[in-house]
């Protein structure tokens, strides 16, 4: 579960940001002849609902329904006793506790007279919830609204990028600050990074640290050898970044800089991987799944995406950063 500070700082992320985003969604509904949109939220699929509401589920799940006209509603697995907390950390006032999110969403849709509803991130709904929603929403046409997600272009949304940069700077700095010493364990390394990030108001921190060859594993209590590899994912105000580092070593080694400099927006993952045959390159995209979802070889690094590019060299050196894919370049979001 998320157990860092979850709060909505209106100075950092003004309510107008979410109003603008909801307006975009409503424009889309009008263009597509939709009466509403529905999206699923869990810790593993938090980004879509977070983008519109600042809702961060620390546990349990929810379905968000945004009507073309009228008040949005959050159907939520969390009990009534924490709805005040949800209201204080989101722009949602209408919250209903539910033990069957699909059925409750269907009822909310029916009560509002919706006939055609777009599913934002249709593929991310859990099997049971979507089947319950479809059963309950008989007579309602449920269609995919995934093209809205693609058109939002998070990699060009300055509010999105501002907070990712902050998450990136905090994460990069915390890893660089760890004092290396003989006998330091992976757990102690992780403890420093985790505590530092949470003190800086990160909500969640996922860490893999290792000094045996290959991609780093779950940190244990054995002393590290050197160099050690660190794969970190951290979330600040719902904005995830991913970083790969080798300590000791430069934050951005020359070979990694060369890899990134070669990558062009609109290039396929296959060609990036093929051009770097001496490296093990993995590319992850941020587009609904939390933190990131691994990209397949046949996918494209499209402008507007936020991607994390991780590379392992000779099973010993790990480097990686998170980037906004711009029209002509990649902007690194994870510099100190």
């Amino acid at each position: 579960m998320k157990r860092g500070l979850i709060e909505w700082d209106h100075a950092e992320l003004p309510p107008a940001v979410f109003e603008r985003r909801a307006a975009l969604a409503r424009d889309y509904m009008r263009q597509q002849g939709l009466d509403g949109l529905a999206a699923f939220s869990s810790m593993a699929q938090a980004d879509v609902v977070r983008y519109f509401t600042h809702f961060l589920p620390y546990f349990n799940r929810a379905v968000y329904v945004l009507p073309r006209e009228g008040e949005p509603i959050l159907l939520c697995g969390l009990s009534n006793r924490v709805h005040g907390w949800i209201r204080s950390t989101t722009n949602i006032s209408n919250i209903e506790a539910s033990r069957d999110l699909g059925a409750s969403a269907a009822r909310a849709i029916a009560e509002r007279g919706m006939k055609r509803v777009g599913l934002l991130g249709r593929g991310t709904f859990p099997v049971q919830i979507l089947s319950s929603l479809a059963r309950g929403a008989e007579g309602v046409e449920l269609v995919s609204a995934d093209d809205l997600l693609a058109s939002l272009r998070w990699g060009e949304d300055e509010d999105e990028l501002r907070l990712r940069r902050k998450a990136g700077a905090l994460t990069a700095r915390s890893i660089a600050e760890v004092e290396l010493r003989q006998g330091l364990t992976a757990g102690e390394f992780a403890a420093y990074v985790d505590r530092t990030l949470r003190l800086a108001a990160a909500e969640d921190v996922l860490l893999q640290i290792d000094s045996s060859r290959g991609w780093p594993g779950i940190p244990g209590t054995a002393p590290l050898g050197w160099p050690a590899r660190i794969l970190a994912q951290a979330e600040y105000k719902g904005h995830w970044v991913q970083i790969g580092r080798t300590r000791p070593g430069p934050a951005v080694p020359d070979w990694y800089r060369q890899l990134i400099n070669r990558i062009r927006p609109d290039q396929s993952v296959a060609s990036v991987v093929g051009d770097a045959s001496d490296l093990d390159v993995r590319i992850y995209a941020s587009r609904g799944g939390s933190p990131f979802t691994a990209m397949d070889l046949d996918e494209t690094i499209e402008p507007g995406l936020i991607v994390a590019i991780m590379a392992l060299r000779e099973s010993v050196e790990l480097a990686g950063d998170t980037f906004a894919v711009r029209r002509g370049e990649l902007e690194c979001l994870t510099t100190e």
């Binding site: 709060e7 006793r81 859990p126 403890a191 505590r195 949470r198 397949d296 996918e299």
Partner: protein, 371 residues
């Protein structure tokens, strides 16, 4: 000798009961308990599947995390670059081996539709039938490997709570306390932690993730702390006061302690969960606080603990589950009382042949931190 033979035997029996040719388990980044039950190995993979049949077991993970020694329940691991690719492999194996016509799906409550559709498209005419509830029921009674792992994890809850007490001081913010505890738990090897916190007085109606509230002298500070080690969570619930407790805090805690003690005294094989909940609630009722045992003020009166921090059975007065030896649960009468606000108290325990054994060692008292 396969140390998971007992578990595999149960899973084969479940396959027979449900008339399925195999069981497909799914795990996601934040919920791997189904997967880990079938493939007991930690993995950084953001998701994974395990396909078990009577003949074989296969573990499917995101590359490069599949490059591990297979756990003893499976014969092979498979990896692909993306979630879609991994799902494609699962479907391909089902089709190639002709597994069917029915496969039980464990984790349909979390499995994304997109992945399921990919599996179904590749697997062909196989029917996936829900088996999540059936597995959850089976998992209530822990096997010997699980009990050993849970016993091995219990000290983390004790040490974690000691770190919590040390971190609580007037002037500190809730999230700073959590940061200290998280850091400490990482140091001693915790894989994960489920933790809720609250502080204050009669204005506190429940627990959430930490806020920026600053602790003050006289506060009641409560936590549900649930570190994970070897895959298994162990939960402890305690309340403390910053400075000496007020008479209301003392009286309130006394009620919680007696309620939890009543549950511990009752728990043994053959007793129902409803009776346990009633034993807790009767203490509140006798004090005139019966209304605070309802859903308006409390979530549950306890729950199972294991590979997930909040497992079946839910301890509630209308749950007729009969306790059996080997069940692991926490009986916590956590609720709001107007005496001093929301308070928590409870320990993870295992049901033994003739009673129960509390697994944590932290003193069962109202703690006091320096005010």
């Amino acid at each position: 000798m396969n140390r998971y033979a007992e578990r595999l035997g149960r899973l084969y029996a479940l396959m027979d009961e449900e008339q399925v040719a195999g069981l497909l388990f799914y795990g996601s980044q934040f919920r791997k308990d189904y997967l880990r039950y079938a493939a007991p190995v930690p993995t950084p993979s953001a998701y994974g599947f395990c396909l078990l049949t009577r003949e074989s077991g296969h573990l499917f993970l995101e590359e490069p995390w599949h490059e591990i020694d297979p756990p003893e329940t499976v014969q092979a691991t498979h990896g692909a670059r993306s979630p879609r690719g991994v799902s494609h492999l699962v479907g391909g194996l089902i089709r190639k081996r002709g597994i069917g016509p029915r496969i039980g799906l464990v984790g349909g409550d979390i499995l994304e539709v997109g992945l399921m559709e990919e599996i179904q498209a590749v697997a062909g005419a196989v029917e996936f039938v829900p088996a999540t509830k059936e597995l959850a029921a089976m998992r209530m009674v822990k096997d010997s490997e699980e009990l050993a792992a849970i016993r091995g994890a219990a000290h983390l809850a004790d040490e974690g709570y000691a770190a919590f007490v040390k971190a609580c001081r007037p002037g500190r913010k809730q999230f700073e306390i959590v940061a200290d505890v998280e850091g400490f738990l990482r140091t001693i090897g915790a894989e994960d932690n489920f933790m809720l916190i609250a502080s204050g007085g009669r204005d506190v109606y429940g627990m959430t993730p930490p806020s920026g509230r600053t602790l003050q002298r006289g506060d009641n500070v409560i936590t549900e702390l649930t570190p994970q080690l070897g895959g298994y969570y162990v939960q402890i619930c305690r309340s403390l006061t910053l400075g000496p407790p007020s008479p209301e805090q003392e009286r309130s805690f006394d009620i919680f302690k007696r309620a939890a003690d009543a549950a511990v005294a009752l728990i043994k094989p053959g007793v129902t969960v409803a009776e346990v909940a009633r034993a807790e609630n009767d203490v509140f009722r006798a004090e005139g606080f019966g209304e605070y045992c309802t859903e308006q003020y409390t979530r549950v009166r306890g729950h199972g603990v294991g590979l997930y921090p909040d497992e079946d059975p839910v301890v509630w007065e209308d749950v007729q589950t009969v306790l059996q030896e080997g069940m692991v649960l926490i009986a916590h009468p956590n609720t709001y009382l107007p005496l001093s606000g929301y308070m928590v108290f409870g320990d993870t325990l295992v049901v033994t042949r003739d009673g129960c054994e509390i697994l944590t060692r932290t003193e069962r008292k109202l703690f006091e931190a320096q005010g």
